[in-house]
Symmetry: C2
């Protein structure tokens, strides 16, 4: 920030907003600049413009994808403007070299469908009224080759090749097509077109967000700050949440499943999830944590989080009902707060219930497992199992055998 720009006073309100925004973040660059932006916004009443770029290719999101949306919601609640930028321009081009099969060009129709699905899902978190929805085709479609050359003149080849994946491929002499280097510039230019004050992304987006910051400077704009969020660890407490790891909560999961899945995570992971998924204030979370440290059962905190998440993606009644159902199934107090986790391999994509119980170490043999099923002593996700022939697909299951034997089984 140049010296002749006015400095705004940083009062307790600014400090508190900054602390809320900083909760759970991976990186916030540059913090002192961002503090000034916040202070100016409070002093002038002019909201900050907070951008999230979205590639409209994979509309089906899970809770892990909502981490950055939660951060945007916090920004909205602090009075700032959220810009939901749909990258329809590049999606329509895809990878014209045809080398990258995961990036086929999308038709205008597909893009609109994907974007709508994504927006519908995101609206469960964001305040849609306070969300500015933009498409980068607005300015990119109008761009000529001349504009592109002028844009490209603002950045050096070496700096683009510093991006981790480019640097790696260049060092390994793996081909990088020229247009791949143009995409970060186009994406960065979006920040110029939008006059963004802050851009959010996943931690893997850091480089691209910095390009936007640099280009704004080149175009004589105040550079945006950048904020990256970490990837959410999944139900297994180890891997990043992803569909391929079967450790995820889909945002369209049924309320009971959602509730049960949150209840199955470890206490340590629960506090991370609070930071990344809860919209409770820092003070509330700190208070809850203190209570647990002083002896309150962490299960209570987990119930609160599970209800908050279910309420977000369904509604309050569904959350209440899921809690009642969960308690009915597991008889309050019976389920331990921490459940050991076991990985079990499925053959041909599925596994018989008896075999799964044996492999998970809950019974010494399949025969013993089957006897337990026949006696009504086996519950999966709280539901009593009667059929020995049941096959389970890949996924995460809370399995109870008798009263005291529990496991969280990841079938993969």
């Amino acid at each position: 920030m140049s010296e002749n720009e006015k400095m705004f006073p940083v009062g307790p309100e600014v400090k508190e907003a900054l602390a809320t925004i900083k909760r759970g973040v991976d990186t916030l660059l540059i913090e002192s600049e961002f503090e000034q932006k916040l202070a100016r916004s409070m002093a002038t009443g002019k909201p900050l413009r907070c951008k999230l770029g979205l590639d409209p290719t994979a509309p089906d999101i899970h809770v892990g994808h909502t981490v950055v949306l939660n951060k945007l919601r916090q920004l909205q609640d602090l009075g700032h403007t959220v810009i939901f930028l749909i990258g329809d321009f590049t999606a329509a081009i895809g990878d014209p070299s045809g080398r990258n099969v995961t990036r086929p060009p999308l038709s205008r129709e597909q893009i609109e469908i994907n974007a709508k699905t994504y927006l519908d899902q995101a609206s469960l978190i964001l305040d849609r009224e306070k969300t500015e929805i933009r498409y980068n085709s607005e300015w990119s479609d109008k761009m000529t080759a001349t504009d592109m050359i002028k844009l490209a003149s603002r950045y050096t080849v070496a700096r683009l090749l510093e991006r981790d994946d480019f640097a790696k491929r260049y060092a390994e002499q793996a081909p990088i097509a020229m247009h791949e280097l143009l995409y970060p510039l186009m994406q960065g230019y979006d920040s110029v077109a939008l006059h963004a004050d802050l851009e959010l992304g996943g931690s893997d987006q850091r480089f691209n967000l910095l390009v936007g910051r640099e280009l704004q400077r080149q175009y004589d704009q105040e550079p945006q700050c950048i904020l990256t969020m970490p990837l959410l660890v999944g139900l297994d407490g180890v891997n990043k949440m992803s569909k391929s790891k079967h450790n995820y909560i889909g945002i369209t999961d049924k309320a009971d499943d959602m509730f049960g899945k949150v209840m199955s995570i470890s206490d340590a992971l629960m506090w991370d999830w609070y930071d990344l998924l809860s919209l409770r204030s820092n003070a509330e979370i700190a208070d809850l944590k203190k209570q647990c440290e002083e002896g309150r059962n962490p299960r209570d905190a987990k119930v609160l989080l599970a209800k908050e998440i279910v309420e977000r993606f369904h509604d309050k009644e569904a959350a209440d009902a899921a809690e009642v159902e969960f308690n009915n199934r597991f008889r309050a107090g019976e389920m331990p707060s921490e459940i050991p986790e076991v990985n079990v391999a499925a053959n041909d994509g599925e596994i018989g219930v008896g075999k799964m119980i044996k492999e998970a170490g809950l019974c010494p043999s399949v025969g013993e497992a089957n006897r337990n099923i026949d006696q009504g002593g086996v519950r999966i996700n709280g539901e009593r199992i009667a059929d020995r022939g049941l096959k389970l697909k890949a996924g995460t299951y809370t399995v109870q055998v008798g009263k005291r034997k529990w496991a969280k089984v990841i079938v993969h």
Copy 2:
């Protein structure tokens, strides 16, 4: 060339045309492909499309710049189409990074003036009727950012960075702006737009011409062949002809100057000039060379070359008159065939005639030089000098003191 394409017979006519085209060239790639293109053209009567790209920034050309034009003229005389491509698109952009002061953007008006001047000058060599004049703005102005991304997808970063100057700068960590890598692609795309069969250029253009070849392949066209011409050695017989070396013949030089300058070159350089500047056939040149080897005075061959060059840039009468004037000045037989060459430094851009004669070693002192001037014994470019006070600017001068002392003096 793929195997299922028809092969055309290569008769003596094709061989002869190929020999004419190959005369004096630096590189012809790929010769076997080009031979087939020639053979097909002869068999089908369809002329080859031969492209020369021109940057309309420096319209004032000297004889060194005409080497490639002579090659184009030979191609025209063989019945092929010459495309004179004026790179107005990139000239109008210049270097938008502002780093390169030698490449300021040119206004449309300046471009047209420069292009017209260049064309007027080039028309002294080319058959204007058989020259297709094109501007790359025709297709480049219409290009969108999308088209540019698609074009960029056809080439890898690594291959562009192989260009000598890029490789050097990248290795030295000197900045290369991204748009600099786009220019070779735009230039290469010109060959696609023009369906070029052959592209000509200076030896320093080899890389760019190969980009065009590669892009045509990517756009499913038969790839162009490329032909590069060496740089012409200047009057001093050592350095490439250039204005800064004062060893050049301007194509707007007066007929007498032009004639005298050609007469001043060495015999060895004369034969190189025949290859690069003469439009005489290979057979004629071979015959002339043979005569000289068998005892004919090489001065005769030099006169023929000087007359050909003067005739090209002036006319036949001017060439005849220049010869007569030259003989009058130097009295036939008096001027030696080989004249020693001397470099003399000018102070403040010019040098007094007496000092120049002394520095060139033609007289032991300035006083002696001045006495020779007073006695009418000094000629410069054949013209008797009467004024001791004469100042000479940078340039090449044939200086005669008395009957036997000669020097070609390069004042710089």
